[in-house]
Symmetry: C2
Subunit: 396 residues, 2 copies
């Protein structure tokens, strides 16, 4: 993993006073030294936050200079005033780095339904602009500035050689709950010095998100603020087309998959990262729907938390996914143990399977259908009493 800022980017992260805990960071600023191409993929929640509305209207485009992110307040469900606040915040970031007002994008995450503390944020942006750096600690500070209940910052990077030049792709993300079917309260920002047209950046990002950030779920709750941005400033290499764009997309996929998986791996209160492989389906949408339904079953999640090989919960969750299949052609493997074959229980050593769940953080559910050849890989968490405790207590 090479986690450096790509050529021509600088970053900063700091505490500006949104969160109560003054030891945490709550503001992050990333700047490109030249106009950059930016693409975005956003929540499909009808109730979307003001920063989502703003960024959606500004991407894809070819002239972004800054991305500013705050944590601790989502600026969601805040009506017209929320949209004006997001614009003010973006303008402050753009102007602080010498760009014009509409050359910045903005992301917010945190509590829903409260107005942004704009004075603290604009003051914070000015301080961050004065602290911008291109080293590792600046990058880590920027990654920390977007965290909420995450227990660690999430960075991933790849260097890929294209036309003899080292192209860097580096991403950061946050998210630990409200992680739902089509992205959760997750923010992702992927930076690259590659050269892409706005249309190519959008197309590449959309394709990659579909198999990465759209294949995770912690609690099935789709957030108002989900955003993944790709900012490509073209500081290195030729304009990517054809095979070169494929090489870039493969590396981008690796970065995005690593970031996406880091979210359930840090899921609130989770004691297991659950990888769900669904195969043998008629099409990808069917496989995705089944994987998501299994991933989000509270009973499946509780069974894994308790190291309980109660596989009937897995099969019955698949059965209510509203995807047609023949139950007599279903096979199920749990951590490599065959539990169910062609719709009939297989005698198995429950103690051994239970021990295999209990003794490691990774759990593998492998569900095979006899309908076709489509498959999907999905990542989720178990459900623990600690998750409930954390979320019964978040607001007040």
């Amino acid at each position: 993993m090479s986690c450096l800022l790509p050529q021509g980017f600088r970053a900063a992260g700091l505490y500006c006073g949104i969160k109560r805990d003054t030891t945490k960071l709550d503001l992050s600023l990333v700047v490109s030294d030249r106009d950059a191409v930016a693409a975005g993929v956003y929540t499909q929640n009808l109730v979307f936050a003001a920063p989502v509305q703003l960024d959606r209207s500004r991407t894809p485009c070819g002239r972004i200079r800054a991305v500013v992110t705050n944590s601790g307040n989502a600026n969601a469900c805040t009506g017209e005033r929320g949209l004006r606040d997001a614009e003010t915040m973006a303008r402050a970031a753009a102007e602080a780095v010498g760009a014009t007002g509409d050359q910045a994008l903005v992301m917010s995450t945190g509590i829903i339904g409260e107005f942004l503390p704009l004075e603290k944020i604009t003051r914070g942006i000015q301080t961050a602009a004065a602290q911008l750096g291109d080293g590792e600690s600046a990058l880590i500070d920027a990654a920390r500035g977007m965290l909420t209940t995450d227990t660690r910052h999430k960075l991933a990077g790849r260097t890929v050689s294209i036309a003899g030049q080292p192209i860097q792709i580096t991403g950061m993300c946050k998210g630990a709950a409200m992680i739902g079917p089509r992205m959760g309260t997750m923010l992702g920002l992927i930076l690259t010095d590659a050269q892409l047209t706005p249309a190519a950046a959008q197309q590449t990002l959309s394709a990659v998100v579909e198999d990465t950030f759209n294949c995770i779920s912690i609690d099935g709750h789709m957030s108002t603020n989900d955003t993944v941005l790709l900012v490509a400033n073209g500081a290195r290499g030729p304009l990517l087309e054809g095979a070169q764009r494929q090489t870039f997309q493969a590396a981008l996929h690796e970065v995005a998959a690593e970031l996406a998986k880091a979210i359930p791996a840090d899921g609130e209160g989770a004691s297991h990262l659950v990888t769900i492989d669904v195969s043998g389906c008629l099409d990808r949408a069917a496989a995705h729907q089944i994987a998501k339904t299994v991933a989000e079953s509270a009973l499946v999640k509780c069974a894994i938390a308790g190291a309980d090989p109660n596989w009937g919960r897995i099969v019955s969750a698949a059965g209510y996914a509203q995807v047609p299949f023949d139950p007599h052609k279903v096979d199920l493997f749990l951590n490599g143990h065959s539990l169910y074959q062609q719709g009939t229980p297989v005698p198995f050593d429950a103690g051994a399977v239970s021990k295999s769940i209990q003794s490691q953080r990774d759990t593998h559910i492998d569900l095979r259908f006899g309908e076709g050849s489509a498959r999907v890989r999905f990542w989720s968490t178990d459900l623990t009493a600690e998750y409930v405790r954390l979320n019964a207590d978040y607001h007040t």
Copy 2:
């Protein structure tokens, strides 16, 4: 509430050895002294249990004499052998009361993927047939025989006068988890001495279930075994048609609603019964979909468990229900307090709202849209650490 067995029915419940806990009951037998009309509504899970397959093939019909139910084993995901076992169980019940083999219906609930202990069950059926009674304790024993993790038995009854005769409707049900969108692991059995044709019984039951048992959710997990049966033996009153059938249906609705609501009220580990009213929608399906999505959000459930008026979770859950609406025309009331109006936060006393959640078992979410006039009422639970503990531990 008048919870008596309708005219011409007898019942028994006992422990036959399926459950480990010998102080619980695990078998229930209800018998009609004459051929009765029976209708059923079943799970929509593709992976449905053997007893569901059997009852589906036998209802609606006009010649049922017995309904036998076991708890502790769901006879689900048990392949061809499971179906033969369900037939054997039904035949044993029919023959024990002097009927022919196909005049019985069967229900099972409990662990998925294990074969029924048939010897214990058939011996239990014979003992139960010898103990049949028509008093209150026989009815309560029958209601207890179908319970799994329920903390109490669930009975509801109404007496309604039709053509000068007292028609009795008495129902029992079970369920405390795996309660999903289109019925959960719930079994319901409603008995009446009214006279209905098989078609009318089916039509009336289906209509009533739609607004009662299909409007509850505890964890969104649709079970393999969900069944609601209506058994009408015609011991009293005329053949119900027209206005008389309407009167009957209204009383049946009251019984079914009381039973349905009793399930989340006894939800595993739940500390709140949550009533969700969704109104102002374009059609009933839209209102139902939104209510169900809010009901099943783990974050909404945790907030209620923690008496936390974190209303953004409610509004954002509505937003991902995949039902189109204008977010600027949404109002939200929580326990009568206005929190969100026309898409904008309303200043409110968070302490007072929190106290109103904490101080009572009932929580009321009232979500109003500006799209139309359709509405639905839905019942759910909160999500507590105790639910997780119970379900991490159920199997092993």
